[in-house]
């Protein structure tokens, strides 16, 4: 009883259980074949959701109404910028990554400027910005099927003992993010603002600076994610980031971060991202049509959020 209540108090644990359940279902269907390969593929795909999920988590933790809806467009543009700067040459990889990072950070900073200067809700600000970014991307990347440099593409696909190197780096970054969230002034400020921004302001927390930094961080993570995605899928395109709007929001909420702000959880993001990716893997193994896949994904996300995210929001 005591233990089950402790489990219920940590809704993000369910995300790992859910991931395990869908993985077992997929393996049961294949008769035990390809379980390991499924896991490494899931890790490789989940890392991209985790990277943007962490950015989204910091934004959402700022409190009600704070959300970054410009991530998909941001990822798309940054992937094109990175590939164009790298121009297929391995010597330019670092410069390309920096360019994607800068592009994303600039988008994040612009988002915050719109929110701050025009006093518009973050939802509308980031949504409007995302349409401008999307157009810029369509116009900029038109007709270009830009390939990543071979070395970069190989690196993003590199696996050691079935574990993608990039997933390890993302895991290391998650640890840093968790430390920043719980142990550093920045993270504590974000949590304080999310709990009560006025109280945080009265206590001397630099509210404006923290919010600006958070939106910039989310943008920068979107940018780097775009570059890595373009490397992993061996090419940039406009729609590359489309699925990351729902995914980034869903992993944050399923992962146990409070949508009311002020409470965040990094490990839950990994569980939720693995759950979502394995769910898709399972549906693909079952061989369902595109329509059914969308339907089931949507229903499962709504159901899981209704089951796990609800109590969290009730404060």
């Amino acid at each position: 009883m005591e233990r089950s209540r402790a489990l219920l108090a940590k809704p993000w644990l369910w995300s790992y259980l859910g991931a395990l359940a869908v993985w077992l279902a997929a393996i049961a269907f294949t008769g035990g074949h390809g379980g390991g390969g499924m896991l490494s593929a899931a890790l490789a795909l989940a890392q991209f959701t985790v990277i943007v999920g962490i950015g989204q988590m910091f934004v959402i933790t700022l409190g009600p109404g704070n959300v970054d809806l410009s991530l998909p467009a941001n990822i798309g543009l940054a992937s094109a910028v990175a590939m164009k700067v790298m121009d297929g040459s391995d010597s330019m990889v670092a410069v390309g990554l920096l360019a994607a990072l800068a592009c994303g950070a600039a988008i994040g900073a612009t988002n915050y400027l719109l929110i701050r200067a025009l006093r518009i809700p973050p939802i509308i600000a980031t949504l409007s910005a995302s349409f401008i970014i999307q157009s810029a991307d369509i116009s900029y990347g038109r007709g270009l099927q830009i390939k990543p440099p071979p070395g970069f593409a190989d690196f993003t696909n590199l696996e050691v003992l079935g574990i993608p190197i990039l997933a390890l780096l993302t895991a290391a970054f998650s640890v840093v993010a968790a430390i920043a969230l719980h142990r550093m002034v920045y993270g504590r400020s974000v949590l304080a603002i999310g709990q009560n921004s006025r109280a945080a302001w009265l206590a001397g927390t630099p509210v404006g600076r923290t919010r600006a930094l958070t939106y910039t961080l989310s943008g920068a993570l979107g940018g780097i994610d775009g570059a890595l995605l373009a490397g992993y899928f061996r090419g940039a395109n406009v729609d590359i980031g489309n699925e990351y709007l729902l995914a980034s929001l869903a992993v944050v909420v399923i992962g146990g971060t409070s949508v009311a702000g002020g409470r965040a959880n990094v490990p839950g993001i990994w569980g939720a991202a693995l759950f979502l990716v394995l769910l898709l893997t399972m549906l693909n193994t079952f061989g369902v049509s595109a329509g059914v896949r969308l339907l089931v994904t949507g229903l499962v996300i709504v159901a899981v959020i209704a089951a796990a995210g609800g109590q969290d929001a009730q404060r």
Binding site: V67, S128, S135, A136, S289, G291, L294
Partner: protein, 329 residues
């Protein structure tokens, strides 16, 4: 006593002049949607004078009515401090039902659409009871509606029922049908939401939920009603869209989510506090419908940048409103 009056007098006069400035700012704010529409119309008239005619408006506003209806759907959701990111794919789903089942088996089609409205009402209940973030729930639902639409109509096709086509083919003398329809929709929703007592309760559920609950009104019921109304107008939007296009495609409503939110916000709606304006939303939707393609086509803006132009218009109008509101404070 006399000294008190003397002291109070200048204070009051100061207050009245401040009040005057506030009222003026409010007035500008209320007229901002109409002003944006007038600006867009003026730009169109300047770029292509021939467009300002019965025929020109019929063509330019051809797709305006589905946008107006989707905007009204979004308006109900926003009145309750929520946001519906699924309205676009819902309109697409309704379109697919309209072009297939409603045509082949009218009763099945009508029952499906009624069921879809019930799903919306149930979502309202779910969001309220479990205290869920509406953007995540509706974003999830957008996958559900899109999935269903693709399952019904994997490739573009279907056919609009003949009676539906007849309605949209109807021509009024002197005033194009879309303008008449927009006026009617604006008037009906304005009356229902702004002039009836339950309309005030519905807006109050976004304005001050705690006070409303304490006064004995059920917040669950208001949310269910608001979402059901959103579903109902979403259904109307999808049917209106199919009556014009005459066939459907699973992605037909994809742009409507943005257009609907933009219409509400352009029309003077606020995200929180139940401050919405149905007439403003209709004007906002017409502005978006005109700005979305006819104006941009006349301005020779390449299709690549049309989405950006929508975003930019939104930002400009909000900037203008922020300036006015600053004076209002």
């Amino acid at each position: 006593m006399p000294t008190e009056t003397a002291a109070a007098l200048p204070a009051r006069s100061v207050r009245t002049s401040a009040h005057g400035a506030t009222a003026r700012a409010r007035l500008i704010r209320a007229w901002l949607p109409a002003l944006s529409l007038a600006l867009v119309l003026a730009a169109i008239a300047w770029l292509n004078p021939r467009a300002i005619s019965y025929f020109g408006f019929s063509l330019m506003l051809n797709l305006a009515i589905p946008i107006v209806l989707a905007t009204i759907a979004q308006l109900f959701v926003i009145s309750g401090n929520e946001l519906d990111l699924s309205i676009g794919s819902f309109v697409g789903f309704v379109g697919c039902v309209t072009a297939t089942w409603l045509n082949d088996a009218p009763w099945l089609g009508a029952a499906t659409l009624l069921g879809a409205v019930c799903v919306y009402a149930a979502l309202g209940a779910l969001i309220h009871v479990r205290n869920l973030p509406s953007i995540v729930v509706t974003l999830g639902m957008s996958f559900v509606w899109q999935g269903l639409a693709i399952m019904m109509l994997p490739t573009p096709g279907g056919k609009a029922p003949a009676w539906l086509q007849a309605i949209s083919a109807f021509r009024f003398p002197f005033v194009p049908l879309p303008i008449v329809a927009a006026l009617a929709i604006g008037a009906i929703v304005h009356f229902g939401l702004m002039r009836t007592s339950y309309g005030a309760i519905l807006r109050g559920s976004g304005g001050n939920p705690a006070a409303l609950a304490r006064a004995g009104w059920s917040l669950l019921r208001t949310k269910v009603v608001l979402f059901a109304l959103a579903g109902f107008f979403g259904v109307l939007s999808g049917m209106a869209l199919i009556s014009i296009t005459t066939s459907a495609d699973a992605n037909i409503g994809s742009g409507y989510t943005l257009l609907a939110i933009a219409g509400v916000i352009l029309g003077g709606g606020e995200f929180v506090g139940g401050r919405v304006s149905p007439v403003g939303a209709v004007v906002g939707a017409l502005t978006m419908a005109l700005a979305a393609s006819p104006l941009l086509t006349f301005m020779d803006i390449p299709p690549d940048w049309q989405v950006a132009a929508n975003g930019a218009i939104l930002i400009v109008v909000l900037a203008a409103r922020a300036l006015v509101s600053r004076r209002e404070d």
